[in-house]
Each structure stands twice: as C-alpha cells, then as structure tokens.
C-alpha cells in the first residue's frame, strides 16, 4: 500500500529542496505544503507534528524534522 507522505516547506529553505529531490530520486510520492502561503498547513504542522522547523516530513506515525538522509532512508525502508 502506498503510504501518504507529507512534506511541509518554505520557498527559501535549501534543505526542503534537498529533501524533495531525495524523495523524487527515490520514487517516493508526496504532497507538499508551502507553509508561508498555506496557513492551515502551518497550523497542522505546528499542532499535529509539534514542529516549528522545515522541512517537516510526516508519514504513518513518523515525524522527521530537518533533512537527515540516513534516518529518512531507515524510516522509509530504502
């Protein structure tokens, strides 16, 4: 079953771009939320993921704050 991966980003964040490129390169489908424009997504990230930093990547019950390739690989089973 395809898991639902969400990534919360800001347009000025270099690590968000690296994280998205990593997901693209590994064929992981995701939904992106630009939290500068999307206030509902910003609140969701703050409250549901308890995160105040981007990128925040959420799937299953996992919340990964920042881009850590090794950890992301492990959690995604890559």
């Amino acid at each position: 079953m395809a898991r639902e991966v969400k990534i919360y980003t800001t347009p000025t964040c270099p690590y968000c771009k690296i994280a998205k490129k990593f997901l693209d390169d590994n064929g992981i489908k995701y939904q992106e939320f630009n939290i500068v424009e999307d206030k509902a997504a910003r609140e969701e990230m703050k409250n549901k993921c308890n995160s105040l930093a981007v990128p925040t990547i959420c799937f299953d019950n996992e919340v990964l704050v920042g881009f850590n390739e090794a950890e992301l690989r492990k959690k995604l089973g890559l």
Partner: protein, 306 residues
C-alpha cells in the same frame, strides 16, 4: 585503497574532486551532504561568472561538474566522518556508521557549522522554536515574538527579515553590534525591535516549545525574561575539525593550520576551505583552496611513487 580521499562536499571538496579527477587520481569524496555551507547561502553575488545566483543552484552546478568525472571520483553521501588516523601506507577514514576507507593522501574540507549557545533546553527545543537557519524557518514565526541572538551580519540580517513578519523582535548580543554599518542603521531604526547589548543568554525555557529566554546584563548582572516563541541563534560558526584533533594540533579557533601549499604538517594530509586557518570564508576562496590542495596532493603522490 584509494589514492586520495576528500572529506567534505562543499565548494572546497567538490573543486578538489574535479582537480583530482583531471589528474586521474583514484578518488573518494565522502560527505554528509553535497553543497555544504553553499546550500544555506541564499543569494551569492560575488562568485565570478555570475552576477547573482542562489547558493543552492551554484552548488548543483558544482555537483554536475563533479559527476562528469564519475569514473575517477566515487562519491559517498550521507556519511559523517568520525576520525582520520594514520594507517599502513597512508590514512584510514572512519565513518560514524562504522565503515572504514583507506587512502595514500587525504584532503579535509569539512567546513564549518553554526555555533551553539550551549544553554539549557537548547538541544531539546531544536526544531521547536530554536533554529540555526533563519531563512528556512523565519516564516513560521509570523506574528510571534522572537529573539535573534548575535551581533554580526547574520544576526542583523535575520533581525531585519523578522521585523517584517514578526510581532516583535528582540536582538540580544553579547558584544556591541559588529556587523556592517548599513545593517546596523537599518535595524536600529526598526519600530518593532528592541536591542539588548552586552547581554548573555542564560537559558531557553519551554516544555514542548520555546516559551521564553532568560538573559542577563553583563554589567549590572540584572536578569530579564523575554516571552518569545522563537530563538534564532546567529552567533557565528565553528570548524568541523573534530575528526583530526588527535592527528595534529588545531589553532585556538579549532581550525586546521595550513601553509600556502595547503599542507598541514602531516605528510600526505592536506586541508582546504573554511575548516582551515585561511582567513576569508568565501565560496570563491574555498574553491580556489580546494584546487590548490588537490594539485598539491597530486605532487605528493607523484613523489611517493618514485
């Protein structure tokens, strides 16, 4: 065994890789990321050939150039190096994940990272209001009260950016402001900003999120608590020189001392870029130093094989 291992994938490391490949050295570039500090520079306006370019885009161009030489240069990303030590016939590089790699010569190009405050709750609240990347996380603190810590250009730029979107900005600096006068003037004239000069940060407070910081006047020793939702730490950088601290003596800033030929004093061990004692921390300087280190390593390897 490789002929050369380059540790670090920023401007210095990637330039060294291209120069090493053109000398046909069997090379490994090992790094946590590709782009290093180049990635966190928003706009570069002083790299020759480009009037302006995003740091990330410039680093992509560096990476493409390294990839042209994939037969000679192997690239391992996502690995942090724990230790560099001498070994039979050269050096051993040990990654935090446990793998080891051997080479006859090594270039250290690991750059610098943001300096931490080292106060209580700083680590626990990282990503929960504490940030070292103002351009990344700034927009999250729209309409909040925030503190920017530091008195140099990065701190002043962060304060100037945040004044536009935050409810209020406190700028807390241990020293008088040291950044460019044009930025100091801008920040001093901002209406939603309070400056605390010669104050130290004692602790960050908050359970699951930042709620306040406690600061102290260096002279009067009077303490103050500021209610803030975000803390932007912009107090400079420290060199990523830990992997070599047993191999040689670092200077008082923790940097690797090099001579004008990128040599460290340990034969076969070279260093380049921001991790070294070369004074100007610029992309163009790091790239040039990377080139010098690779050429010097090539000469060393030639002498070795004679």
């Amino acid at each position: 065994m490789y002929e050369l291992i380059i540790i670090g994938g920023g401007p210095a490391g990637m330039t060294a890789a291209v120069y090493a490949a053109r000398k046909k050295l069997n090379t490994l570039l090992i790094s946590y990321d590709i782009g290093g500090q180049g990635l966190t520079t928003w706009l570069v306006e002083n790299y020759m050939g480009y009037q302006f370019i995003e740091g990330r885009e410039l680093m992509q161009k560096f990476e493409e150039q390294v990839k042209q030489f994939s037969t000679d240069v192997k690239v391992e990303v996502g690995k942090r190096v724990e230790r560099l030590s001498k070994a039979d016939g050269g050096f051993e590089v040990r990654a935090e994940s446990g793998e080891t790699y051997k080479a006859k010569a090594v270039i250290l190009a690991t750059g610098k990272r943001p300096r931490q405050l080292n106060v209580p709750r700083e680590n626990e609240l990282l990503g929960r209001g504490v940030t070292y990347c103002a351009i990344c996380d700034g927009p999250l603190f729209a309409d909040a009260k925030v503190a920017v810590i530091g008195g140099g250009n990065s701190a002043l730029e962060a304060a100037d950016d945040m004044v536009k979107i935050a409810d209020h900005v406190y700028l807390v600096s241990l020293t008088p402001l040291t950044g460019d006068q044009i930025l100091i003037d801008k920040v001093k004239s901002a209406s939603k900003l309070t400056i605390f000069l010669e104050y130290e940060v004692l602790e960050i407070k908050g359970e699951s999120r930042v709620e306040a910081i406690k600061i102290r006047d260096l002279k009067s020793k009077q303490e103050k608590e500021l209610n803030v939702g975000g803390v932007f730490v912009e107090i400079g950088l420290v060199p990523n020189s830990e992997p070599v601290k047993k191999l040689l003596t670092l200077n008082r800033l923790g940097e690797v001392e090099v001579n004008c030929g990128s040599e460290t004093g340990v034969p076969g061990f070279f260093a380049a870029g921001d991790v070294t004692s070369v004074p100007d921390k610029q992309i163009v300087v790091a790239a040039g130093e990377g080139a010098k280190a690779a050429l010097q390593a090539h000469r060393y390897l030639q002498r070795l094989s004679k």
